[in-house]
Point group: C2
Chain length 451, copies 2
């Protein structure tokens, strides 16, 4: 796994010779110019030329069902959003040093989806920058440095964000003021999961204190994507919120993954848990691919920070990105994409549950809305089977269905399509997955027998 | 100055009552939603609805001559670039986990403008992220932490970038492993300026060493924008490069301000100095307003970092940003904007020199291409006069000519228009500036007499 740097589902450059010559040349050229830091997905990298809705198309016109990408949340190249971008790019694109009511209209609309006393927003271009800014504000407001995250969390790639992202691995060490807690347990009650997580966070805060580090904030992705997807039972985050507050710290909800209607049950993942965060970071789907991200927060947090610490993000909240973000909210509402995520997400989850019946290597079907996961395990030992997950992801890719894998062992299938994913799309995904699983079954004669 | 946080030319919220009621309401609403961190330009903030070439237009159709914005480097809403954005946004917008030759075509073209052994490039969305990544790579490659910057440098707003940006002021303290050196002196020979800067950097490296901090990199904006603009004499950076290398450190050239043909003499500011940097950061003008930035570097620097440290920037180098950046390079070439910057820049500089004759409060006309500056000083004491600079900037704004101020005392007029700025545009700028200066003269009867 060395040559893929521990990232699930990444192409291994040592296998470039196995590709067809044209692809091999492109991959080699890419490695030469962009360097080893740039990883591709899949054993056979995907090269596409067009996107529309939940589909990507290669140069031969073959369609790939995209059951993975959350950035194009309202669908690839959605015409309404693309038109908004085109019109704005032809009209005006300035920064926030100039006065423009549209960023205020958008901000008020965005903040209204939060409520909860989150009445201020600041714009960045990426989720990494949003994490970085939220950490700066939290540390400034508390005068403390200690941060607690989950054990395989991912929050970004600026130096400060990488220092709170254990999923990046040993090449990117955690900060000395960072502590980790185990990801929420699967399969227990909200009370049990919540109590354990709260106790772990309490212990981490105490550990920081013992080393003279005051606690600033708990930071968590509200759906725990890189920890392997822990959506349920909704409500388990509330006790953590209380522990954080009683320790004088702040709760930062990372909604880069779970935000913008993805979970089907609420606009924001933290809302499913009945949680009241102090800061919220938003990113990826916000502009359907145009770089825009943000931090929403309580007004007290930004008052002194904003006055004393100059923060200006040249592209953050510029005219084109606000136009794109506004159009995204329009489409989420008019196309009822939250409701679709709930309905189709439930349909696909049921289908996954059906497929897992009698397959003892496939378990832990879970999800919220259109963020779904299922684990691959060794049927005998119940140990994670990342290699099998990798095989399934690549077999699906050969059938032109795009998903990926996640979790510390890379053994969780990660299904996270654009939100307009339909039941028909779900049928195609499930049908192709069944074919792939049948081939897996064929190599494991006992597998179906254990039902 | 407290309420403007030390930023030159920022609107003071305490003056909101002086605006017309509609503007005052918008400004107040903005402050409520975006918070105190968001500063506006000018005593009377500018509200525009359309941009074209070097002009911005308000809702009454009045044109403002933009002699300030470098982000729309090929002109506001350039149709060729806007079309490239529109077409790409309607066709495909994916990230670098998928294979696409266009990012390679662009990268090779961009790197060819550098030469110099800089054969690798990595993409981010903002200059701040580029600084942050360059620092991560430099520290990883050297295994050292110490960074040296100039005393009023600005390199970005991520936590790590802010820690090397003294211009942000005391609210945003420098890192403990950061040392500053005085900005390059004005008015001396390249040998003298270079020798002093090199000696200062040498002393800063020694100071780091005395406190047990090994030297990683010297980081400098090649035109020293926030230090007050120090373009000449070209060549003074070479001795610093030698000191840096002999100390085992890396030279990071920040080309966010001086890059992309701005200086008229070269594509990159460091090239004017005959310097060979190890890493180069690029940003603002790169996509004419679409968020894209990058770090170019020697291949050795990214080899191990890329293998061991996962770095993926979701929006960095996505299809739309690469389409925009490609179109920007096309326009710079086809419209000969580097040549225009040199020619018109020289014309405006000559005009500024003419205006300074006999005005003892106006001195130090300088610039490279279309990045020009001139200082406002007290004629008797020669001390910086930031208040006068502020008055001139605002008087020009009332005449619908947009410039700003820079430097540690905010006393340097900052003239940095989009690159298609013509001689006619220069005539308008100089003509309006003359009117403003005549009004200043009228309040200082002795001023013109001292010639």
């Amino acid at each position: 796994m060395t040559s893929t740097g521990g990232m699930p589902n990444s192409f291994d450059m040592n296998q470039a010779d196995l590709l067809d010559p044209e692809l091999a040349e492109l991959v080699t050229r890419r490695s030469r110019v962009l360097g080893a830091g740039y990883r591709l997905f899949y054993d056979e990298p995907v090269q596409v030329v067009r996107g529309e809705g939940v589909h990507l198309f290669d140069e031969l016109g073959r369609d790939y069902l995209d059951a993975y990408n959350n950035v194009p949340c309202v669908g690839h190249c959605h015409p309404y959003v693309a038109n908004a971008i085109a019109t704005q790019a032809r009209t005006l694109n300035t920064n926030t040093r100039y006065l423009d009511a549209r960023i205020l209209d958008y901000s008020e609309r965005l903040l209204a989806t939060h409520g909860n006393g989150l009445t201020n927003v600041m714009y960045t271009c990426t989720g990494s920058e949003a994490t970085d800014l939220a950490l700066r504000i939290a540390r400034y407001a508390t005068g403390a440095e200690g941060i607690v995250v989950t054990s395989n969390a991912y929050h970004g790639v600026t130096a400060a964000a990488a220092a709170v992202s254990p999923s990046l691995g040993s090449g990117s060490p955690l900060g000395e003021d960072v502590r980790t807690v185990s990801a929420p347990a699967l399969g227990a009650s909200a009370e049990e999961v919540g109590a354990r997580l709260a106790a772990d966070v309490r212990a981490a805060i105490d550990d920081l204190a013992q080393q003279g580090i005051r606690f600033a904030a708990f930071l968590a992705d509200s759906i725990f994507s890189s920890d392997g997807l822990c959506p349920d039972p909704a409500g388990f985050l509330r006790p953590v919120g209380e522990v954080v507050r009683s320790a004088g710290g702040l709760y930062i909800a990372d909604e880069v993954q779970s935000g913008f209607a993805r979970t089907g049950e609420a606009m924001w993942g933290y809302q499913r848990h009945g949680l009241h965060p102090d800061l919220v970071t938003m990113g990826k789907p916000m502009g359907n691919g145009i770089p825009i991200a943000a931090v929403a927060m309580r007004p007290q947090l930004v008052e002194e920070f904003g006055r004393e610490v100059r923060y200006f993000n040249t592209f953050g909240g510029n005219s084109v990105s606000i136009a794109a973000a506004t159009a995204v909210l329009d489409v989420i509402e008019t196309d009822a994409l939250m409701e679709n995520a709930l309905s189709v997400g439930g349909f696909v989850r049921d289908g996954l549950a059906d497929l897992s019946v009698g397959r003892s290597y496939l378990e832990g079907v879970r999800g919220a809305g259109l963020y779904l996961g299922v684990d691959l395990v060794d049927p005998d030992t119940q140990q994670p089977d990342g290699e099998l997950a990798r095989r399934i992801v690549n077999d699906l890719r050969r059938r032109r269905v795009l998903i990926s894998a996640t979790g510390p062992e890379g053994h969780t299938l990660k299904i996270r399509p654009p939100l307009p994913f339909s039941r028909e799309d779900g049928d195609r995904l499930l049908g192709e997955l069944e074919q792939v699983l049948l081939a897996v079954d064929a190599g494991r004669p006992a597998a179906r027998g254990s039902r």
